[in-house]
């Protein structure tokens, strides 16, 4: 009998080894800065070989301007990816719609028009967030479909026409002045050097960083993104948290859309084309896991810079637009592969 008692008491040791690979973890956190520095060095060499200076004032300016719009959108899109919903496919038409409505309401004065544009993003984010957060619609399929619907609404609503702020504006000083102010936001240089767009992008990254790292929402989103069910069984209102993530994302995208429209001087359903994959590339480059719960705003910023530098290098080499598409596609797929690979190595919930 004593022998039998011993069997009962013999420890059932858990022998599974689940050590996390520290190298992979470090690469996941810091890798983007290594890539950024490598690209900077590569850029310097290539620029020099082409008889130019990579760290030239005008080149730095053009990099910053180019990444400003991507950055604004990526700073928000980060929240969708981080929440475990992969990406928001309605980014392009969110940007386009915000631009359309801003231009359409330019007669109310620039500040009001700006607010209307931002509110557009907020509203789109609420709808996406409600469908995906509350009703658990498939995030990709839903947002892709919603993108198509928005595109249809713009084409039907404005008869397929493009909008120009100065023609929409009435012939009054106030309205014309609003239109000119609107155009100027993408053409203002603070101290004559740094573009206002870049400053706005930096501010949005700071805001995004604070939301992510310093608020209770950010902390809850981390848990929702890592393990939705575990977060639910910790008393977190997951539906509300996911919805807020979408609202931030779409609002940021709307701001990007407004600046984009001002830069092109044209509001159209085409504004924002390509931003879905470009911005997702930036977010993933920054080390955010495609399935959520891991990543940082700072990393995303690094991802945006690296992407901008890469594009800059491509123009130094002087390759054509079509080749550029191919390179961008390859970079995107490579990043997705690396992302999935690290994820497997890091071990998921």
């Amino acid at each position: 009998m004593s022998d039998q008692n011993k069997t009962v008491l013999s420890p059932k040791t858990d022998t599974r080894k689940t050590e996390v690979n520290k190298g992979i973890l470090l690469f996941n956190r810091m890798g983007i800065w290594v890539i950024t520095i490598a690209l900077l060095i590569l850029g310097t060499i290539i620029a020099a070989a082409n008889g130019g200076h990579f760290f030239d004032k005008s080149n730095i300016q053009s990099i910053l301007e180019a990444v400003a719009l991507y950055g604004m959108v990526a700073a928000g899109l980060f929240y969708v990816t981080y929440s475990g919903n992969w990406t928001d496919m309605s980014i392009p038409l969110t940007m386009a719609m915000a631009g359309m409505l801003t231009v359409q309401s330019i007669n109310l004065g620039f500040p009001v028009a700006l607010l209307i544009g931002i509110a557009t993003g907020l509203a789109i984010g609420m709808i996406n967030g409600f469908m995906i957060g509350h009703l658990r619609a498939n995030p990709i399929i839903w947002s892709w479909g919603f993108n198509l619907l928005l595109s249809g609404i713009i084409r039907v609503g404005w008869g397929g026409k493009q909008l120009y702020a100065d023609t929409v504006a009435k012939q009054t000083d106030f309205a014309q002045h609003s239109a000119q102010t609107f155009y100027s936001i993408s053409r203002t240089y603070i101290g004559g050097i740094i573009s206002l767009m870049a400053i706005v992008m930096l501010c949005m990254f700071v805001l995004s960083y604070i939301i992510h790292a310093k608020t209770s929402f950010g902390q809850k989103l981390k848990l929702v993104g890592s393990n939705y069910e575990a977060a639910r069984f910790s008393g977190i209102n997951c539906q509300k948290i996911v919805m807020m993530g979408y609202m931030i994302s779409s609002t940021f995208a709307a701001v990007g859309g407004i600046f984009y429209t001002a830069l092109r001087k044209t509001a159209s359903y085409e504004n924002g084309t390509g931003y879905d994959f470009t911005c997702l590339t930036c977010v993933l480059l920054g080390g955010t896991l495609l399935s959520g719960g891991k990543g940082s705003v700072l990393g995303t910023f690094g991802g945006v810079l690296a992407y901008g530098i890469l594009n800059n290098i491509l123009s130094w080499i002087g390759i054509g637009t079509y080749t550029k598409y191919a390179v961008q596609g390859m970079v995107f797929l490579l990043i997705v592969f690396i992302n999935t690979y690290t994820e497997r190595k890091l071990g998921r919930s």
């Binding site: 950010g218 848990l223 071990g347």
Partner: protein, 505 residues
């Protein structure tokens, strides 16, 4: 006993897992035309023994004879060729494709190199269905359109198609209603008449006495009983399953129960899951909800904390009626629920310990909209030290801990939540004995501090060691209550099966 009459003869079979001998020199014989029940508590080794038979392990020791011939069952294919047919609890049918395609998977008759002979396939399927009494079923409809019972029978038909001489059925009735069970039994009896040897695994005593000829009982990896069903009785089987009381692992608990009611359920009902549930929980008490898996014990907890709805009845917390719309409300009111599956429902495995331990208290420690885990590092350290989490490093990712330590992190999370009433669902499933002891001590201490706990567990010694009182749940109804003096593994098992002195319905 003539050798030839034995369909299956397992001699001195053992199977070792790292750190534990799951099956320890077991002899197991089944005659042709016999229904042989295999019984034992969770972890007794009966499923491991059957997995050996199914060829899932290639490192078992001992000899296995099938129809008098020595066989090696080192892979599932070898087992199938040796004539072993396994019917598992979870169906292996593809729900969206038709019955005949399911039945004939891998051996669909062909007209020629390209096309399948559909007519012949349907006829073949009809023949197999005939054997399990489903001759009237149209084999072209999809599995998702037929009832659970029929699907179970189709599964059996599929196994029978490989012409096994031994059929192993693991809890085949667990999801069937009583009429369906009767139907299933008549099929099983018919197969017995055809000379099939049947191994029948079940937790339900009644079923064993109704259908089986012989019963083998396992405990702690050993065979502890073997008798003709006609020569044994329920008390004897329960005694064998439970064994000699394993004691002193659980130290005497200080009785901290008071008369103050902290939680009261009145007529609490979720149709189809649990009905008219009434009980009271007192301050300083550990109350067990005892019942078989599927009795509705987890569902009561989920409805109480607002994760699932309830249709009828009221819950009172400290005398005030509560009706939570979500779990967050329940926690802030003071009711916590430690989920049964730590990996899926309990922890964010890819995050560090501190994020997990503090996941219930983000709102409590927020300052306006701002929050940082770093503000509560001291609390995290205190709780993981209390639970002896090893290594005690709050920055370490949870998925790098062993199962036992993960469970301790989960407990630390709920200790940090500091709720009044904690419901623990299988708090020590799959953890080592050391972690178990730490978790049990933590539960005791927590209750002694003036809180209360409800424990739901399939681990009977755990309930015996911890509970101050047990309410017995069977098929969604509370059918009795066992006071502390009366709680033994024996009385719990009898009561969960609807038998014994504590059952009063």
């Amino acid at each position: 006993m003539a050798e030839t009459a034995l369909a299956l003869d397992m001699r001195q079979v053992s199977k070792q897992f790292p750190g534990t001998l799951a099956v320890d020199r077991v002899d197991f014989q089944v005659k042709k035309g016999e229904i042989h029940a295999l019984m034992g508590e969770n972890g007794a080794g009966k499923s491991t023994l059957m997995k050996v038979l199914a060829g899932l392990f290639n490192d078992y020791t001992g000899e296995i004879y099938i129809n008098g011939e020595k066989k090696e069952l080192r892979s599932p294919i070898m087992a199938k060729e040796a004539g072993i047919g396994m019917v598992y609890q979870e169906l292996s049918l593809a729900r969206k494709i038709s019955i005949y395609e399911n039945l004939l998977v891998g051996r669909l008759p062909k007209k020629n190199a390209l096309f399948i002979d559909r007519k012949k396939a349907i006829q073949m399927a009809k023949d197999s269905l005939e054997r399990v009494g489903l001759g009237n079923l149209d084999p072209t409809i999809s599995v998702s359109e037929i009832s659970q019972c029929d699907a179970q029978l189709v599964e059996i038909a599929k196994v029978l198609d490989s012409h096994p001489s031994i059929l192993v059925m693991d809890e085949p009735t667990s999801s069937l209603s009583s009429e369906e069970v009767e139907r299933m039994f008549s099929i099983i009896r018919k197969l017995r008449e055809e000379g099939m040897a049947i191994v029948y695994i079940s937790h339900h005593m009644q079923e064993i006495f109704e259908i089986a000829d012989r019963v083998t009982v396992m405990r702690d990896g050993r065979r502890v009983g073997n008798a003709l069903v006609s020569e044994t009785n329920e008390e004897e089987l329960v005694q064998q399953m439970v064994g000699e009381p394993v004691k002193k692992f659980y130290g005497e608990s200080a009785n901290t129960v008071t008369s103050e009611v902290v939680l009261k359920l009145e007529d609490f009902t979720r149709w189809g899951f649990f009905h008219h549930v009434n009980f009271e929980l007192h301050k300083g008490e550990i109350l067990a909800i005892e019942g078989l898996a599927g009795s509705g014990r987890t569902e009561i907890a989920r409805a109480l904390i607002g994760v699932d709805e309830h249709h009828l009845g009221k819950a009172y917390f400290h005398g005030k009626e509560v009706n939570f719309k979500n779990f967050g409300e329940a926690i802030s009111t003071g009711i916590g629920y430690v989920t049964e599956d730590r990996k899926i429902l309990g922890l964010a495995l890819s995050q560090p310990v501190s994020d997990n331990v503090l996941s219930c208290v983000i709102d409590r420690y927020s300052k306006g909209m701002f929050y940082s885990n770093a503000w509560n590092n001291a609390l995290v350290d205190e709780k993981i030290n209390e639970m002896s989490v090893y290594p005690a490093d709050r920055t370490r990712l949870v998925n790098s801990f062993s199962g036992g330590n993960q469970q301790k992190v989960l407990m630390a999370k709920w200790m940090a939540a500091d709720v009044d009433v904690l419901i623990l669902d299988e708090p020590t499933r799959g953890v080592d004995i050391n972690a178990k002891q730490i978790i049990h001590n933590a539960i005791r201490q927590y209750v002694a501090q003036g809180h209360a706990a409800i424990i739901i567990s399939s681990d009977l010694p755990e309930i015996v060691g911890l509970a101050d009182r047990a309410v017995v749940l069977r098929e969604g109804h509370i059918i009795g209550e066992i006071p502390k003096e009366g709680i033994t593994e024996n009385s719990l098992l009898m009561a969960a099966n609807g038998k014994g002195e504590y059952v009063n319905v």
